[in-house]
């Protein structure tokens, strides 16, 4: 599990691979279609694909010659969970800060009230 997440992050460290993932998020594509916008060989694109495949980010179907590349979007859940945990911790911290700020507001209100009562 840990290794898988590390592989996903490593796979996405490369801008070309991130771009390929972004395009596959729209639709499946063949290797040739994926290679089109890049000034690199189909072989180089195949290598990038292999990295994405090993990380579990994409799969190749067995559809005769076409063999389109498919994005395994659920892998992103792993990454999302990873940062979500940090976000949740920060959120809990800030909810406590909300409570402190509410107390501060109550304090200043009651002080004002006390002063008003003293004055009357």
């Amino acid at each position: 599990m840990e290794d898988r997440l590390s592989r996903v992050f490593a796979a996405l460290a490369d801008p070309i691979r991130r771009d390929m993932v972004a395009r596959l998020a729209v639709a499946d594509a063949t290797v040739n279609e994926l290679a089109e916008p890049y000034a690199v060989t189909v072989q180089a694109v195949s290598k990038h694909l292999k990295v994405l495949e090993d990380a579990g980010l994409v799969s190749r179907s067995r559809q005769a010659q076409r063999r389109p590349v498919h994005l395994e979007a659920e892998v992103f859940d792993l990454m999302t969970k990873w940062i979500e945990r940090y976000r949740r911790e920060a959120e809990q911290r800030y909810q406590r800060l909300d409570a402190v700020l509410a107390e501060l507001a109550d304090d200043s209100e009651s002080q004002t009230q006390t002063r008003e009562e003293d004055a009357s």
């Binding site: 992050f9 490593a10 996405l12 999302t80 990873w82 800030y94 402190v100 700020l101 501060l104």
Partner: protein, 162 residues
């Protein structure tokens, strides 16, 4: 937006820079949010993870001042320290942050308090680490998972998930 709105905390970890940016709004004026960051008895009430007890050893929140605190749980102690580089009342705090467990690592944190009017504040905290690896370690701290490489715009992924 009403005062009962639940505020979302957003986090962005840039794939190309060793930074973490947190943004959160509060239903309190900048002066109050600032106070909660500089008065130790207020800081103690919210800063640490809930499961940990926080002891403030030193807290001198002024430009050129310093801080040092300890978080404790049944597993042990976690000690942190840093300098207050700049403390500008109601506007911003710039400080360093080091966990003694990784004494060679230091993050530079800039916290700004933006006045949104109507007694509301947008807090923005940017932490700059000395490497992406250090940033990822900080993000994954407390987790069994250690991630040292690679990144995607996770904030965008989070948004896409909604």
């Amino acid at each position: 937006m009403s005062t009962t709105t639940h505020h979302e905390t957003t986090i962005a970890a840039n794939p190309d820079l060793p930074t973490i940016e947190i943004v959160r709004e509060f239903d309190a004026p900048p002066a109050a949010v600032f106070r909660a960051h500089v008065e130790p008895e207020l800081v103690k009430k919210w800063l640490g993870p809930r499961r940990l007890e926080m002891e403030i050893v030193t807290w001198d929140a002024r430009t050129g001042g310093e801080y040092r605190y300890v978080h404790r749980d049944d597993q042990g102690e976690y000690r942190f320290y840093g300098s207050f580089h700049e403390v500008r009342p109601g506007e911003r705090i710039v400080q360093t942050f080091t966990w003694e467990g990784v004494p060679d690592g230091v993050a530079l944190e800039t916290i700004t308090f933006e006045d949104l009017g109507d007694g509301r504040t947008r807090l923005r905290g940017v932490s700059v680490f000395d490497s992406k690896e250090a940033r990822d370690m900080a993000l994954s701290s407390g987790m069994e998972v250690g991630v040292n490489e690679g990144y995607e715009r996770l904030d965008e992924l989070l948004t896409a998930e909604k």
